[in-house]
Assembly symmetry: D3
Homo-oligomer: 133 residues x 6
């Protein structure tokens, strides 16, 4: 059960509805997922987080599929069930194949493994890895 | 200080040296970084982890730069200083631009933020996000 | 399903019952939640953890609501569903408003984001942030 | 060593300088810490993150000291050294006493402990903890 | 719902079936758990991960029960529900008693608590803790 | 730099000194490490945490070496540098061999990897893994 009442479109204030409309228009969809309905209990947070998502996930130096896969990699690392489900769906929609998902998960698993080996053995950073400017 | 003595190339056993040689040949470099020198205190672990890295990071359905950026995203999420340093270097070598690094970090930061919002508000997974087979 | 059998009040040993009674008296409630019923399979652990909770969560330099909100902030960061549910309930009981919950989650989300930006960019600690004694 | 060149005030573009000026004016200080100097390599990210920090950390339903302590609680949970150092300094500046720091850390430690006990024992959420609307 | 279709034994390819057969023979069981059925959508990943598990979890300098308990300790720390359930079952099968489970969880909880106290207070490593070689 | 002034033995109050004396007597050592010197700025927290450590780490259903290795496994998973250094030292003192350290790290790495595969693929818990009572 969510910690706050979900705000449905039909009962939303003009301020919330404006954000919902922008989410649906930007994503070319006709529904709002639960994440936004929970944030809507504080309209300023809803607007702020949506603006961040819209700006960060827009195509740029990285393409949308790469961004969705990075999002999924982080969510799998943190074990956020909601985020894994929603960003697996987004990545699929952006074109992620079964083979890409498998390789993504393989890299995520491996990085999580070697992160602990490097920390656990107290390994010091090689001089050659330090950036020069 | 590392937890175990680092095994330098000059003092390595034939079993360790074979792995070191394969690392340098595969990566087209002439040095071994500290991570492998620590693992080498148990040659079977050195060989096993290297085989995993070699297989997982090879080009496939995802290109090498994407894989390095996912590795860096996971390492930043976990806060592994060694891994962040080494995989920032690898990603740079694979061609990561300043703009790509900036967008990668923006997605990593945003995903870590929304992961906690989704968990913190106890948001339930929308039916539409559940895969059908 | 819990990993161990939950110990109900009616079937509890005198040692466990004494802790259950103290929990209910301290909190002015008439029931025991599942967390304690699981710990009770080892009475010494039940008593030890309860003594810690009782001491740490008592009013002091920080008021009870602030402590509950910090508890919730940590639980949301770690993604512990049980702890998020129980400490959202506790914080609500201690007076947390919808607006306070929204601002708490906003800070938790932001801190999780900037933690990764600081780590991901390998930013060094400014001299001015180092305490002087 | 940071992953990108830090942008000093003297060498900053007008867009970056405007954000730096706003940071110093808002915080009533005369210097910029390394975090912002690293973000500045991508001015749009610098502006976006600063706007988020400014909006989220402003006084509201929670006072500034409480917000700084929550930020520190999250940073200690994640083990972000930079963030712990900078937000300990901020919380001190906002008035955190030694006794408040000690109680904050006690709650953070306890929450991290019980989070793992609840997860480790696979404890199910009590019906009474589920919100009703 | 899993992100990929689970591959049942009856419908598996010869390559997948060979791994399934080895899992069942090695573990002396007659069924395959969901983890492997999901990995099987990419047979090379299934084989690689299974080879790692088989090699790492074999008796050696640490006995199988100790290894299962360490696995459970890590899984409880990360909050991976699937892994906690499966490795609690494995540890039970390897002989873990209720008393051992209770002490294991007590250590896991305590370590998670003191990890945050050490980080939160920015405590520096004592010279005496640094290994000498 | 630690967040609070470290309390040295020579300058400690009788209450703090009593805990320091008990730590040294219990561990059969003649010095106090930084962790306790930081906690000592709040004597009640020092005493409480030490009592927990003393009780939890005492020999019981698990032997001291196993407990130290579990502590190290958790600390490596969380990336707590201070705790990794101090508990590697403790585990060495309790008899941990190079081979045991290597196998411990191998299990820790593997568990961290498979934790993310299980979460990332949204794998559901098999009925057979659910405990029956």
């Amino acid at each position: 059960m969510p910690s706050v009442k979900l705000i449905e479109y039909a009962e939303s204030s003009p301020e919330v509805r404006a954000v919902y409309d922008d989410i649906m228009a930007t994503r070319k969809i006709d529904w709002i997922n639960n994440f936004w309905k929970a944030l809507a209990h504080q309209p300023s947070a809803l607007r702020r987080i949506w603006q961040n998502v819209k700006e960060v996930m827009a195509p740029g130096a990285l393409d949308p599929l790469t961004k969705e896969m990075v999002y999924l990699a982080v969510s799998a690392t943190n074990g956020c069930a909601y985020c894994i489900a929603s960003h697996t769906a987004s990545a699929r929609k952006a074109g992620m194949s079964d083979a890409q998902l498998a390789e993504l998960m393989a890299v995520v698993g491996l990085a999580n493994e070697t992160n602990r080996l490097a920390n656990g053995y107290q390994i010091e950073i090689d001089e050659r890895f330090k950036p020069k400017f």
